[in-house]
């Protein structure tokens, strides 16, 4: 299915003039961009910049004031199955009575449709996805008994189970140990190798250059967007973060510390 799209060069995601507001205050203003296929894209900006809001609005989880979005050239409603989503970990109650395998199977619910219960096939897919994130041993563990990093990997496995072409991940690296971070970035690169496109909300400026092909700098409005080497510059970062950023020069390489 990817092949067809690649031939016709349809962008996995185009956003045109997206504006979102809670109550009356716009928290995302007139954002437009087009995502190239098969790239890892970092979404960077200070807290409250509207990063989560943007993803939720694209996924139709929030009403928008204005703006158009298209997934592979079609409205999102028709293309749901091509889209996978990893919400912020804190967005759910991890004391919910369920285990890791069960959560991952939720990624198949969209394919199952109404009434049908997940069966052996879904279980197998879910186990496969758990294996990919190194969590196969924890399949039957109650989710509150997983560490933060393990919970994050379960969420990731659930998104994998969606078997999508375009992924949105909201801060997957926050609060995880170094090993999990490694596991996640390896997985992201595998997805990329399969021609999938991944947008990742990211906080650690020190790893941006290493992790992402493209970068979006966001602070209510779009500050800059493009290949990492063009966009991830000191002046543009200053523009994005304002005074909240400490920059330490180090042999021309700007090492940046997000002082949030």
């Amino acid at each position: 299915m990817n092949q067809r799209n690649r031939g016709s060069e349809v962008s996995p995601l185009t956003v045109e003039g997206l504006t979102v507001a809670y109550q009356k205050k716009p928290v995302l203003r007139n954002v437009s961009f087009e995502v190239p296929e098969g790239k890892l894209i970092g979404i960077i900006g200070p807290n409250g910049a509207g990063k989560s809001t943007m993803i939720k609005a694209i996924l139709g989880l929030l009403p928008r004031v204005s703006g158009e979005t298209e997934i592979y050239g079609r409205p999102y409603k028709e293309m749901r199955r091509k889209v996978g989503y990893v919400p912020q970990r804190e967005s759910v109650d991890w004391d919910f009575p369920t285990n890791a395998l069960d959560v991952v199977m939720m990624g198949r619910y969209g394919h199952l449709g109404w009434f049908k219960r997940p069966g052996a096939k879904e279980r197998e897919i879910a186990m496969d996805c758990l294996r990919k994130v190194g969590m196969a041993d924890y399949a039957h563990r109650q989710i509150s008994q997983l560490s933060g990093g393990q919970q994050q990997r379960v969420f990731l496995a659930r998104a994998l189970a969606q078997n999508a072409d375009l992924y949105f991940m909201d801060e997957p690296f926050v609060g995880v140990d170094a090993m999990t971070e490694r596991a996640i970035i390896t997985l992201l690169n595998e997805l990329k190798a399969q021609g999938k496109t991944v947008l990742v909300v990211h906080h650690d400026l020190a790893t941006v250059k290493e992790y992402f092909d493209w970068v979006m700098l966001l602070n209510v409005e779009m500050v800059a967007y493009g290949p990492t080497e063009d966009v991830f510059t000191k002046s543009l970062l200053h523009q994005t973060y304002g005074g909240r950023l400490a920059v330490f020069d180090h042999e021309d390489e700007a090492i940046l510390v997000d002082s949030r």
Partner: protein, 318 residues
């Protein structure tokens, strides 16, 4: 005492009432699990209290005491109440819990005023509406029990068919919406079941306490299991047991209202669960801690012994 209650059981009418209360406990336990997990424990309370003015108005307009009519009245005022909560939270800075508190007390206040009005009116004495505050299972008639059967059948079937959908909705509504499930519709369906349960439960358990029957069995069930399916069934069973115990005591000792007794029964189950549930219960935790400390002490002793051993050997070699 015990023999007395068994002789009561022989009365066919009591069997019906027991059946009704058991079904009520079952459905409120099941539907309450989802309300509890969706952090909507207060919603049941609000709906129940908000039902009172609706029931009173239905009676004032028609002058007859009939459950279907009361259902419509309670349903309409329940809808207005939930809508009010939505409006308050959306257009003011008041948070959801405060909004529920406000709506609950305003509606209940109006309900009490209307209830007093009805009781002072000529046919108010026969209305039996005053029983709606704390509930009187004995006042249930066959058709009421039939209605309960119908409602509980609908809820059991819905919870079975839509188990996966309700689970996803309760765990991660955002993800459910992303997958394309009509989250608003499912939420409304759960709310609708909640209203139905509350309304059919009011006669037996009363406005004030029917919500306790929604939440207490669910909280108790959560102590025993880490699986949603088991929890829902267990919560239904706990609810049913509470309903039966409450009714038995209430019909045998005649003077006590069913609602408080059922709720006390549910609370007892809850207390038992807190204490004795495996893993999550207090006793299990204490035992685990003692065992854990024991194990740590044992391993410390072992290390101490090894250390001494090494020391001795060193001294010997010197």
């Amino acid at each position: 005492m015990m023999e007395f209650s068994w002789s009561v059981l022989a009365d066919p009418n009591t069997k019906w009432i027991l059946m009704g209360c058991m079904l009520l406990g079952l459905m409120s336990g099941m539907i309450g699990s989802f309300a509890y997990l969706r952090k909507q424990s207060l919603i049941g309370d609000t709906l129940a209290h908000a039902a009172l003015p609706g029931i009173c108005i239905a009676f004032m307009l028609t002058g007859v005491k009939s459950l279907p009519l009361f259902f419509i009245g309670a349903f309409v005022s329940g809808l207005i109440a939930t809508y009010s909560i939505t409006v308050i939270t959306r257009y003011t800075r008041i948070k959801a819990d405060a909004a529920m508190g406000i709506v609950l007390s305003v509606f209940f206040g109006i309900g009490i005023v209307l209830l007093t009005q009805i009781q002072h009116s000529p046919n108010g004495n026969q209305s039996g509406l005053d029983k709606f505050l704390f509930g009187q299972a004995a006042s249930m008639i066959h058709s009421d029990v039939y209605l309960m059967m119908g409602v509980s059948a609908v809820i059991i079937i819905a919870c079975t068919l839509l188990f996966k959908e309700f689970k996803l909705l309760s765990f991660d509504p955002g993800f459910a919406r992303g997958l394309g499930f009509p989250v608003g519709l499912l939420e409304q369906l759960l709310m609708f079941f909640l209203v139905m349960t509350v309304v059919v439960g009011i006669q037996a358990v009363g406005v004030v306490l029917v919500a306790a029957l929604l939440i207490t069995p669910a909280v108790a069930a959560r102590y025993w299991t880490d699986r949603l399916g088991v929890m829902v069934v267990l919560s239904g069973v706990f609810g049913a047991i509470s309903g039966v115990i409450g009714t038995l005591i209430s019909t045998t000792t005649s003077n006590l209202p069913t609602g408080p007794l059922s709720v006390l029964a549910a609370t007892t189950v809850f207390g038992f669960s807190i204490l004795f549930a495996p893993r999550r219960g207090v006793c299990a935790k204490v035992i685990r801690r003692i065992r854990g400390n024991e194990a740590i002490r044992a391993s410390e002793r072992m290390r101490e012994m090894q250390r001494q051993d090494i020391r001795l050997r060193k001294e010997e070699s010197l």
